[in-house]
């Protein structure tokens, strides 16, 4: 008995050691990024590695923030905030409308359309890329912010609609029925009864669409050309174009800064969000 409990205590300690070592592996790259951003250029690649900056410098942040010509990173972050906020709000509104329609309303051809919705998840974005470029050109959307968030006004993405639809299917139908007997309109049922109950899945949707828009590199890479409209990912990418080592510190500093909002959102909502991800695989 005694040796048994001793053995399990030993396994527990071993487990903690292994998990902690692995955690280091997951955290170290980001740690490297943060400390390097405060080191002078000559110290960033110094051997052996400086675990803590010997000489602190904020030069990379100051230089990087200035960015290019009259465009500073303040402008870049404003652009990104504008695009991201519009995209998230529009996604939440339109994706829930559509999901409600598929989950609760009866209309001709619903099942066929729902299968079409699921099928679009399989289609790689590359297939529609060239014609989308032509359509955006025709609609004068090239080099506008709207090119980055227009999709959010059309349901925001099949995956979001699917997630919310599954969630609404799980809510009791009696809610709708009794409201309808009280004379509530369909929109009223959506807005005042179903939508408030969707808050758990909406948190997942907000986080997913936030990270998607905030990180989206491909769309602005193709549709934006003026620097004063750049969002964070394409702005950081320009540091790599001017490959000279002189830009390394600046690239590291601005990269560090760009990861901060992501980490903030992650740690604020990680519990609920991780639950949401885990269940997608089991229902699918």
């Amino acid at each position: 008995m005694r040796s048994n409990s001793f053995r399990s205590a030993a396994t527990t300690v071993a487990l903690y050691v292994i998990l902690s070592l692995l955690s280091l592996l997951f955290v170290f790259p980001l740690y490297w990024l943060v400390v390097s951003s405060f080191k002078p250029l000559s110290a960033i690649f110094r051997i052996p590695f400086e675990w803590w900056p010997v000489d602190w410098t904020f030069k990379h942040y100051k230089d990087g923030w200035r960015f290019m010509g009259s465009v500073t990173f303040a402008r870049v972050y404003l652009n990104t905030a504008y695009v991201t906020i519009v995209a998230v709000v529009a996604t939440v509104f339109t994706s829930t409308l559509v999901a409600f329609g598929f989950a609760r309303l009866r209309f001709f051809g619903k099942n066929v359309l729902f299968v079409a919705l699921l099928a679009t998840m399989m289609l790689p974005t590359q297939v529609t890329l060239v014609p989308t470029f032509l359509i955006f050109d025709y609609l004068n959307l090239i080099d506008t912010y709207a090119a980055l968030y227009i999709g959010a006004f059309f349901g925001g993405g099949a995956f979001y609609i699917f997630l919310i639809r599954q969630f609404i299917m799980g809510l009791p139908f009696d809610l709708d029925e009794s409201a309808r007997l009280d004379g509530a309109s369909t929109f009223r049922i959506y807005w005042s009864i179903i939508l408030p109950l969707c808050s758990p899945v909406l948190i997942t949707i907000v986080i997913l669409s936030f990270t998607w828009t905030y990180n989206d590199f491909f769309t602005p890479l193709i549709f934006l050309s003026s620097i004063e409209k750049f969002t964070v990912p394409v702005a950081i990418n320009t540091f790599l174009d001017e490959a000279g080592t002189g830009k390394v510190g600046v690239a590291i500093a601005m990269t560090t800064l760009s990861v901060v909002p992501l980490l903030a959102v992650f740690f604020a909502a990680q519990r609920r969000f991780m639950q949401g991800i885990a269940t997608t695989g089991l229902k699918g």
Partner: protein, 298 residues
């Protein structure tokens, strides 16, 4: 009569936003690009129908085969590595000890930030010729490795760093592990089954539906790999990381061969579709559904 009509209309109004988007940004572009795939089209002049000319050009192109091979090698290596490490991590985290939530969060975090191109830049620096990994290697007396600067290594380095973002697959595995009844393990233990035996006879079979899900997602993602090849290596050195989508992107927006690029996109779609169907087809041979357990027969 009027009421049913109104009901249908209401349904269409609700799904309207998606349906318009589906038509304008999915169905029409998809059909259009299928047409463009058989044309010579450079964006400046209207498309000219060339029949199977693009197909012939593609099949004759060394770069096409090369990028397809590079992408396949990437998928073939990175998908198993990714799923294997994710499963190991999920098993390590599937214990009831104090503070396990903290470890789960830390293990998952890279997946959350990984879609940022900032992370790609981070890897570029960490694995650069004078980066911190080489600092450690020389520190313990080994030679430096040109992780990204050598055509022999760059692709494998990209495969390796992809394992860092195991979080999403890991969480899905973890949820699957937690659904396996504890009693199964306990009775197996009583019957004298060792840890390896328990893993092979209980964990692995009961996890196969989740493995299938992660496998399909993994294949789709790997075949469409772009960002790391674009940001870190720019397809190089010596085109050793010239992934398929990178090739497609350059054909379309660097050389403005948009008809040819549309063909490449459709070929990619067909390849991914074929791989997905083959995986699903094969699943009846290796995926074990719990309902079968009750039936007793297989």
């Amino acid at each position: 009569m009027g009421k049913t009509w109104k009901r249908h209309l209401e349904g269409y109004l609700f799904i309207g936003p998606w349906f318009i988007g589906f038509l304008v940004f999915m169905l029409i572009p998809a059909g259009w690009s299928l047409y463009l795939a058989f044309t010579d089209f450079s964006f400046l002049k209207p498309p000219v129908w060339t029949g199977t000319e693009n197909v012939r050009k593609m099949l004759d192109s060394d770069v096409f085969w090369k990028s397809l091979r590079i992408t396949s090698v990437y998928a073939l290596l990175s998908v198993p590595l990714h799923l294997g490490t994710a499963l190991l991590a999920a098993m390590a985290l599937n214990v009831k000890i104090k503070g396990i939530g903290f470890y789960r969060t830390v293990f998952y975090m890279p997946a959350f930030v990984s879609s940022s191109i900032g992370v790609a830049i981070m890897w570029k620096m960490i694995f650069s010729d004078s980066g911190v990994v080489n600092a450690v290697l020389t520190g313990i007396g080994l030679d430096r490795v040109k992780f990204f600067n050598s055509p022999d290594n760059a692709l494998y380095t990209l495969v390796g760093i992809n394992a860092w973002v195991l979080g999403t697959a890991m969480l899905i595995f973890l949820a699957g592990l937690q659904q396996i009844p504890r009693e199964l393990y306990e009775s197996a233990k009583v019957d004298g089954a060792g840890a390896v035996r328990r893993f092979r006879s209980i964990t692995l079979p009961l996890l196969t539906p989740v493995i299938l899900f992660n496998l399909i997602l993994g294949i789709i993602n790997a075949m469409q790999v772009f960002t790391n090849g674009f940001v870190i290596t720019r397809g190089g050195p010596a085109q050793s990381t010239y992934f398929y989508v990178l090739y497609l992107y350059e054909e379309a927006f660097k050389f403005f061969r948009m008809g040819y690029a549309s063909l490449l996109a459709w070929v990619l779609f067909l390849i991914v579709l074929l791989l997905t169907l083959l995986t699903l087809r094969s699943s009846s041979a290796w995926v074990f559904y719990e309902t079968e357990m009750k039936g007793g027969k297989r």
